[in-house]
Point group: C2
Chain length 418, copies 2
């Protein structure tokens, strides 16, 4: 990759380098909701750039950046959004004086610290896959048969389920510990109350940027045309509620109380440099799931827990997106093979991504092995599951030969039940 | 109930009586999408009534009826929508000359036959419950243990799952037979192709008319305030795809290729007269699921199959909404007990409603008992599941002491796989 320099001051280890330039929706005390691109500690206010005519050769719809979601923008198609991102990259290059020396520069470059990040997209439908073999195997070992941990269908199709879209919230929004029914093995009848086994799930999700009609399918070869970008995803889970309710129709209230996403949508283009082969698949998959090229990405994923009143968060998991057995092209090809239509702004999450080693497991369920092995935090406290007052932080980034592209933080605090 | 007469000619056995007055969205060759109320073979064009000042005392937002969905209208709240419906009822009474003798009458009263009915609502999230004990028992007998057909959780909570909202389509829109993976007991590895066991599910669904915030709950006592009205719901199912994919996370592609709804939303107010007690619940349910009043409705539900080139449809099932073990107030209380937020325009379906007798089963799976007992159509043909070219028609109505309120037809034809 050509080395790029920018005139913007980008702190060392910033996720928001000149190579990244993710899209997000923000507002602040002065400014109504609008679309920006992050670089370093700044946000490029695209609506101001547009007003000043920097995009005049692109014939964009009026007010396309003065929106409270990215949906209209990404619906313009990849050719347009790629041009916008490339234009911004060009304007931020060290040698480019057009914005650097322009009187409008102060208005265009907004401080990230002073901005409130909003939900980046209006999510139509949300799907959660279950695509990490290590995670599915761990769960199978704990709850079913250690000798036959994976169910017979698992290596033939990317198992997934429909999730609740209304309760997906942005980073920074607190969640309430959910109440619900649970029935432990030693109980005669179900109990009711705040969940005793609240968990996070370390996931990555993609956002679709192109629609299909009912009856249409998407091939693995075309799948990436439909993927606009990625966000970190915390699929909050109440394990006790889930365990009691989930047969035979799958997770419901154990998940639908909240799912959190990071605010900056990292484009597929920005991740292209970190493309790697995924795990080899055996048995061979059916033809509609076979891929001609690599669709996995070497992206480190991390989870942290920070108890209330404790200054420093403890890293509890270091995983990687490349561990995922089923890749995003296969997920999308499978999702549409029955003719299911997708819309701009659908969100499809990976499922918990666990790696092979114990410190790479992507949920407390696995890290504490169903609560039997508490993990120790730097503060000296122990955790089997998430406690009230805990803040869970997910991070994710790719780094190769001095090029870094990341997601920033996805940070959510757990409040006691309402 | 007071007997009402209208100046509109309403055919005998019409579902759209003066007692019903359901809301829907329609257009025709001359008219753009707009909101109307059905009576007999006519649609009352509410946008024209509004323009002519018939609702001037209600201070409605401008253009509230010139919409391609009911969402904005029902978001005004029940007080307003009830007033609108009552105003229309008043205008249609035999002795009321205000519309009857008005020069605008011809423009207001549109022929239903010439109208194209659109999706009545933009559906945010869609949930499908599994609330018929007879259906859950039949499925349990067929696929699990005939002696323990119901799973342990079933009588303690209304089992449900999140479904795909994007593929919900209106009556009249054809569906394509879905393709997918299946693995029969005699197969070594999964096969792929058009589903060999395509099925309908006879359901009723309610549409929410009021939102909650994340963390809020809805009590059974308040639940009906959040229910705007009901539609017929055909939860198309590919049994072979579903059987292979559904463990452990529930139905996915076996359902998401299409679900069909009837176009006229029958309000809760119109059904109030047909309120009955539901089945008694034993064991006693947890306090948050207990109800002070009856929330079941005596509504006959019917399914018909009409093969291609055959003139008459054969009735294959006669069921009733009152068979449902878990009522709508319990469904909504359960759905929100974990703090899950709901939005205006969410759709929550009952699950297949089967009755106690074999001719009241609400799916081909049950009617043909997993394909082992083909059912005979009037044309002499037999059916185990739904064939290409078949049209499936669902109907539903309540009738008591000369008062009839119904849904009209939900009609969809199955085309071969694309």
């Amino acid at each position: 990759m050509t080395s790029l320099e920018t005139w913007v001051e980008v702190p060392k280890n910033s996720d928001f380098t000149i190579y990244n330039l993710p899209f997000g929706v923000f507002k602040n005390k002065r400014l109504s909701a609008r679309i920006g691109i992050a670089i370093g500690d700044k946000i490029v206010d695209l609506s101001i750039l547009d007003q000043e005519g920097f995009f005049s050769d692109m014939f964009l719809p009026e007010g396309v950046f003065l929106q409270d979601s990215l949906n209209e923008l990404i619906a313009l198609g990849k050719v347009q959004t790629r041009k916008i991102r490339e234009k911004v990259q060009e304007l931020l290059l060290a040698e480019n004086e057009k914005l650097r020396d322009h009187s409008i520069r102060g208005k265009v470059m907004v401080n990230r610290r002073e901005a409130e990040m909003l939900m980046p997209v209006k999510i139509g439908d949300y799907t959660d896959f279950y695509s990490s073999m290590e995670h599915a195997t761990n769960v199978g070992k704990m709850f079913r048969d250690p000798e036959n941990a994976l169910l017979p269908n698992w290596k033939h199709l990317p198992v997934g389920y429909h999730g609740r879209a209304s309760s997906i919230i942005p980073s920074g929004q607190d969640i309430f510990r959910p109440k619900g029914q649970f029935k432990d093995a030693d109980m005669d009848s179900p109990g009711f109350g705040p969940s005793r086994r609240l968990d996070f799930e370390l996931e990555l999700a993609f956002i679709t940027g192109k629609s299909t009609k009912l009856g249409d399918t998407i091939s693995t070869a075309d799948a990436e045309d439909y993927i606009f970008g990625f966000v970190l995803f915390n699929d909050w889970s109440a394990r006790d509620i889930q365990a009691w309710e989930y047969v035979p129709l799958g997770p419901f209230l154990g998940k639908s109380f909240a799912s959190s996403i990071s605010p900056w949508v990292v484009t597929l283009e920005a991740l292209d440099y970190f493309r790697v082969d995924g795990p080899s698949q055996d048995p061979e998959v059916l033809p509609y799931l076979q891929c001609e090229k690599a669709h996995s990405f070497d992206l480190q994923l991390e989870a942290y827990i920070q108890p209330d009143q404790v200054k420093k968060a403890t890293k509890v998991s270091t995983s990687n997106f490349k561990y995922m057995y089923w890749n995003v092209a296969q997920q999308l090809a499978h999702h549409t093979v029955n003719g299911c239509n997708i819309n701009v702004g659908d969100l499809m999450a990976s499922g918990t991504i666990s790696g092979p080693s114990e410190d790479s497991f992507g949920s407390m369920l696995e890290l504490s092995w169903k609560g039997t092995k508490p993990i120790r935090l730097d503060s000296g406290e122990e955790r089997k599951f998430i406690e009230d007052g805990d803040t869970v932080i997910l991070k994710g980034f790719a780094e190769k030969e001095g090029v870094r592209v990341g997601f920033g933080e996805l940070k959510s605090k757990v409040l006691p039940s309402k």
